[in-house]
């Protein structure tokens, strides 16, 4: 994305050219390439893509949670005025859980089964020097009630296994909120939950965000979640951001052929009909081992032409205020293709 920090309020998080490389026995795997984005205060930024596209590992890099075989570098990775990539563990632990916190997919594995939820909630607060145990308890009760857990002070003595999955995820959300973070990274926060619980959990996140002025990075594979919660979205494919736009615009004018394919694959998209084929994206994601040349999507792309494999790197093209896509084709012809798929006249 082009630098646009001048026009907007200062971003809470600014990432430029984040590269994560995994050293594997068969060669270096480029998990992310040139990932750049800005997160503004109070906005929800969704990163959407399929497994292996690098959406999670890019955020793990920010949190300093990469596996040992991974190496991350970036031109800039500034959170709240501070460069966070390559900070020592000690300095990072002052930020993590404090101003920058995270919600993981599976609430059972992100809670410690041998401690009560009260212990786990208060620990963060006391550890970051926000107050004593009594104040921590008070804050924990306030937040548990806020996330809709009844009888909160009694629930503090419960162990994670005594709670249902949806309840546990709300405890995890409350825990992420304990130190009033500025940014929460939510990695597939509702994927492990039942559908009826998923919707309420997302609505809760939206409410908390408004109430406390949080910024959220929402990592998901589900475009339904993206549509219902996010302000802006980046679509990732094979380690690169291939399209970024305000959410409404992405769904109205999906420009990159991958985004178009992804939207058309959703079973609830369009008119459901048991007799018609579901739209698919043929083929599969290319191997990311070794240096890539050309467009990573070209083998699955309905609009690919010879140049797509020739160029060294496809650059992001700007179209409109805050909309960019990584494709050699001009915007008009891509939009015409999208409309043509729906039988609309162009």
């Amino acid at each position: 994305m082009a630098d646009m920090t001048d026009a907007c309020p200062a971003p809470i998080l600014s990432v430029r050219n984040l590269e994560v490389t995994l050293r594997t026995p068969v060669g270096d795997l480029q998990a992310t390439r040139g990932v750049s984005y800005d997160i503004l205060p109070g906005e929800t930024f969704a990163i959407v893509g399929e497994s292996g596209c690098g959406k999670s590992i890019a955020s793990m890099a920010l949190m300093g949670l990469l596996p040992r075989i991974a190496h991350a570098s970036a031109d800039r990775c500034r959170f709240d005025g501070q460069e966070i990539l390559g900070l020592s563990r000690r300095k990072l632990s002052r930020i993590r859980g404090n101003t920058l916190s995270m919600i993981f997919q599976d609430p059972m594995t992100s809670l410690n089964p041998v401690y009560t939820i009260g212990d786990q909630l208060t620990e963060v607060f006391v550890r970051h020097g926000k107050g004593n145990r009594a104040q921590a308890r008070e804050r924990a009760v306030f937040l548990l009630e806020r996330v809709g857990i009844k009888n909160a002070s009694a629930r503090l003595n419960a162990y994670p296994h005594q709670l249902s999955g949806g309840l546990r995820q709300r405890v995890v959300i409350a825990m992420a909120m304990m130190c009033s973070p500025k940014l929460i990274i939510a990695d597939e926060p509702t994927t492990a939950l039942d559908v009826t619980v998923q919707m309420r959990t997302l609505a809760l996140l939206a409410e908390l965000q408004k109430e406390f002025g949080l910024s959220i990075i929402l990592i998901t594979h589900d475009l339904g979640v993206v549509a219902s919660l996010s302000d802006r979205v980046a679509v990732m494919y094979a380690g690169q951001i291939v399209e970024t736009a305000p959410t409404a615009q992405l769904f109205a004018d999906p420009t990159h052929p991958y985004t178009q394919g992804l939207i058309r694959c959703i079973p609830s998209y369009g008119t459901p009909d048991p007799d018609s084929e579901l739209s698919t994206i043929p083929g599969m994601v290319p191997s990311l081992i070794g240096r890539q040349k050309g467009c990573a999507f070209r083998n699955r792309c309905p609009l690919a032409f010879s140049d797509c494999g020739q160029v060294a790197e496809v650059a992001l093209q700007k179209t409109g205020e805050d909309h960019a896509y990584r494709c050699l084709r001009p915007h008009d012809s891509l939009i015409a293709h999208w409309r043509g798929l729906h039988g609309e006249s162009v």
């Binding site: 997302l202 609505a203 939206a206 769904f251 959703i266 079973p267 609830s268 459901p272 048991p274 698919t280």
Partner: protein, 337 residues
């Protein structure tokens, strides 16, 4: 497409599965009714979905159909013969499974061809050459390139592994396919490929398919008949068009409203909490859904509703008629919690 007057391929009659559970060491053993009095006929060649959330008993039902879980009471007939009268081998020729996670359902130490051929080797006296031919046929059928035959599951993507699992399920030429969440571990673009494949295969081979899922949008796209389960019981059963356009059971209505559309103008409803679903070991008296139901009356709190005909579908709800009339008069569905 299929003949509904003929003998059903699969007939479940009052099937019940319960497990003893103990809350604490000294407390008396309770009972968890995972599947509770489920009756269902599935016609030959039909593609039917069973939907519900975790703990509703849909996977236990799948295990029952595969002969992996004995029933506590009730009968199951497959092609007119009691399931209990089939031997394990005979059953393997009638019913085959496709599981959710192709990473754990394939043997990682066997090649793709060996994985696919496994059911044959166990139950048929075929020469190696014949087996190889059958494997190649089936790989072609599921669009798996033959060059993968000596690969191992770990070298393949999730979608390819699920194709291997489908090939393995079809190699005994079964009549019934039980698919338990076959695409929930896959990416959306791959999910669509596998769903299309499953539907094409069931048509081409005239398979009777039971598709178990929690994802209503997938179900709507795939099948013509849907059974909705809640806490071990079927609460609504009917044509998918009817169920999606005119859901009668309040739980079905809640499920359908929980589908997140890929539409940025959609607004999430305000949050309401009900303290979680009911405890399956101690379900509420009357209709199991009554604590979460905005229409619940005293009757719902005392008497269990039976699955009865309601319009073009079957529904287990005391109040469906009032709800239907009230919605027809333009009533807005209240916020369900």
């Amino acid at each position: 497409m299929f003949d509904s007057t003929a003998e059903p391929a699969l007939r479940l009659c009052d099937v019940e599965v319960s497990f003893p559970v103990r809350r604490g060491f000294f407390s008396a053993a309770g009972k968890l009714h995972a599947v509770n009095k489920v009756s269902l006929d599935v016609a030959r060649g039909e593609f039917i979905s069973i939907v519900g959330e975790s703990g509703c008993g849909k996977s236990t039902l799948a295990k029952v159909l595969l002969g992996l879980q004995p029933v506590t009471s009730g009968t199951i007939q497959i092609n007119g013969k009691n399931l209990a009268d089939y031997s394990r081998k005979e059953l393997a020729y009638q019913v085959q499974p496709i599981f959710q996670d192709p990473y754990s359902s394939l043997n990682p130490r066997k090649s793709v061809a060996a994985n696919i051929a496994l059911p044959l080797i166990l139950s048929e006296k075929l020469t190696a050459r014949e087996i190889r031919k059958r494997v190649h046929e089936i790989m072609e059928m599921v669009s798996l390139p033959i060059r993968f035959e000596h690969s191992y599951p770990s070298q393949m993507s999730g979608g390819q592994r699920q194709r291997v699992a489908i090939a393995r399920a079809l190699i005994t030429r079964p009549r019934i396919l039980v698919c338990d969440e076959p695409t929930s571990a896959l990416d959306v673009s791959v999910q669509a490929q596998i769903l299309n494949l499953l539907r094409d295969l069931s048509r081409r081979l005239n398979l009777t398919s039971i598709f178990i899922s929690h994802d209503l949008s997938v179900v709507r796209h795939l099948t013509r008949r849907v059974a909705v389960m809640y806490l071990g019981r079927v609460v609504e059963l009917g044509d998918s068009e009817e169920i999606f356009n005119n859901p009668r059971h309040p739980y079905t209505q809640l499920l359908i409203r929980s589908i997140l559309p890929p539409d940025p103008t959609y607004r999430l409803p305000p949050v309401t909490w009900d303290g979680g679903g009911p405890d399956p070991t101690n379900p509420p008296p009357g209709c199991h859904f009554n604590p979460r139901c905005p229409y619940a009356t005293d009757l719902c709190r005392t008497a269990l509703p039976a699955l009865i005909k309601a319009g073009d579908a079957h529904v287990a709800c005391h109040a469906w008629h009032d709800i239907d009339a009230w919605r027809a008069a333009g009533g807005k569905t209240p916020q369900l919690s």
